[in-house]
């Protein structure tokens, strides 16, 4: 694993936070194969932080560099490249309603001419292989309207991964999953990380975040705190962080009991 940053944020504060923010700016970078989780209470703007880190929202202050390019000064080509290198998906990501599952996976890859780099049949084969790894039960012949939400999300993940991104940014990815399919999908993500994919994830599943992450960002309405390891957040003595961890632990225990 080499540690050249794919995304580098300096003194970053998002512009579109839905509340007035007087906390610290964020300095951090994400390198190849690293996993960073953004956790925190509800309505703390985690999605805005994620979108700003991915270069999808403008920063209020500071900068984001993706592959060394400032996201505020992107040429058309750079924009296309950054969007391919950092794939962003949220829980309700939409597929093309007029195309079936497989066509949805292949459409952006055809657009980016990946079929010219590999033969057309090979691209379809790669897509099917990827989908098989994610979930072999996905019905690829139906239109998205007839596909369940969790399968739609998995198709969207396959669509993004077929473009061979370096960072996969997921905003609340497990929202539509039942416990079994969530576990399988988490295993798939773990395998992708082992193969060198970087993961940037907003999640309410603190156990998973602590388990998989190399770095953790805690976002609240008051402040953003960066922890360089899961242990660092567990050792943290800040009341708001402790309160959040305790609450989620209590909630998890309650869920298990239920």
């Amino acid at each position: 694993m080499h540690h050249e940053a794919i995304i580098e944020c300096q003194r970053l504060v998002p512009e579109e936070l839905p509340f007035e923010y007087h906390g610290d700016a964020l300095d951090f970078g994400i390198a190849r194969g690293e996993v960073t989780s953004i956790i925190g209470p509800d309505y703390s703007g985690k999605g805005n932080w994620l979108r700003t880190i991915c270069g999808l929202e403008d920063p209020l202050s500071g900068s984001v560099h993706i592959k060394g390019i400032d996201t505020m000064n992107l040429s058309e080509q750079d924009w296309s490249m950054t969007r391919r290198k950092v794939a962003y998906l949220h829980e309700d990501i939409a597929l093309l309603s007029a195309a079936n599952g497989l066509a949805n996976v292949l459409a952006p890859a055809f657009y980016h001419q990946l079929d010219k780099q590999a033969e057309k049949g090979l691209l379809a084969e790669s897509a099917l292989e990827l989908l098989e790894q994610i979930d072999p039960d996905i019905n690829l012949d139906d239109l998205p309207a007839y596909i369940s939400k969790d399968h739609q999300f998995k198709i969207a993940v396959a669509r993004a991964l077929l473009l061979e991104p370096e960072v996969l940014a997921l905003n609340s990815p497990f929202a539509h999953f039942n416990p079994d399919s969530k576990h399988k999908f988490q295993c798939f993500l773990n395998n992708q990380v082992k193969q060198g994919l970087s993961l940037l994830i907003v999640t309410h599943d603190i156990g998973y975040a602590l388990d998989i992450s190399d770095k953790i960002i805690f976002a609240s309405r008051e402040n953003i705190i960066y922890f360089d390891s899961p242990q660092a957040i567990l050792d943290c003595d800040l009341p708001m962080v402790n309160r959040f961890i305790q609450q989620t632990e209590t909630r998890s225990a309650f869920d298990v009991k239920q």
Binding site: L56, R83, R84, I93, P108, F110, H112, L163
Partner: protein, 275 residues
């Protein structure tokens, strides 16, 4: 109320009344500038990458041509037959009363080929394709499909807009050619069969009189119509923001605007060409 106050109120009313046409003119001019910029950007992105028959945009273009052109053929055929019977047949059958056959040939070319054909085809394309494009793009925007594509580095201008504009322009031309041929042949055949067999000659007379100049007017007019209809439809489709109620609103707006543009462009072209 003082005289000064009444005078001031009257002046305000007068300003409002005289200012209204000016404001409307500026608003409409800005709208046209927006449309032109929108379509130019889409075409720039298309031509910059030279993708006329590229696999990425080829399928969208062909699908749109099939929907706009091929699927509209039954309606166009019916309209062509009706127009042939109502106009072409009537004009040819009264040719002896009106004067020489050359006048009738000119009349047929002007009325059927250069006016009724493009106009009727445009109305069909506005009502079928234009409205379908607005609903399609509007729903894609509403459901976040466009945003999801953009987040994967797909340029919407190049992938969704330009193929629709190009294919609608091509389809408008093809549909008008088909309509014109049906309308002329129907009228000539009925007239030759039921009035005078010599009227078959109109086929050759019309084809001989359809000069390259008239042909180029025919082509340019239809391409402009198709280009404008698709541009207005795409522009309105992408103006849908968050509410599902915006889709029918933008569809209606697109139909009305396209019809207005077709009337205005037709008038302008008629003025430039024939006056």
């Amino acid at each position: 109320m003082s005289v000064t106050h009444i005078g001031s109120t009257l002046t305000d009313w007068a300003n409002t009344l005289t200012g209204w046409p000016g404001r409307q003119l500026i608003k409409n001019l800005l709208y046209v500038i927006n449309l032109v910029t929108f379509s130019m950007l889409a075409m720039r992105d298309w031509f910059r990458k030279n993708r006329l028959f590229d696999s990425r945009s080829y399928s969208t273009t062909v699908a749109q041509i099939i929907f706009t052109g091929v699927d509209a053929l039954p309606t166009i055929t019916f309209l062509g037959l009706a127009t042939g019977f109502i106009f072409t047949f009537r004009l040819i059958s009264i040719s002896n009363t009106l004067g020489g056959s050359n006048d009738i040939v000119n009349l047929l070319i002007t009325v059927i080929c250069l006016s009724a054909g493009p106009f009727l085809a445009a109305i069909i394309i506005i009502s079928r394709t234009g409205s379908a494009i607005v609903v399609d793009l509007g729903n894609m925007k509403l459901h976040g499909e466009i945003e999801a594509l953009e987040n994967l580095g797909v340029n919407i201008n190049d992938y969704l807009i330009a193929p629709r504009i190009i294919s609608t322009a091509i389809s408008q031309l093809a549909i008008t050619v088909y309509f014109t041929v049906i309308a002329l042949l129907t009228g000539i055949l009925i007239s030759a069969l039921f009035v005078n067999p010599a009227h078959f000659d109109f086929i050759f007379k019309i084809s001989n009189s359809f000069t390259p100049y008239l042909m180029s007017i025919f082509v340019v007019k239809n391409i402009i119509f198709g280009y404008v209809i698709a541009t207005v439809a795409c522009y309105n489709g992408l103006r849908v923001q968050r509410s599902a109620t915006e889709v029918p609103q933008r569809t209606t707006a697109s139909i009305v605007q396209s019809l207005s543009f077709v009337f205005v462009i037709d008038s302008l072209l008629t003025f430039v060409i024939f006056v």
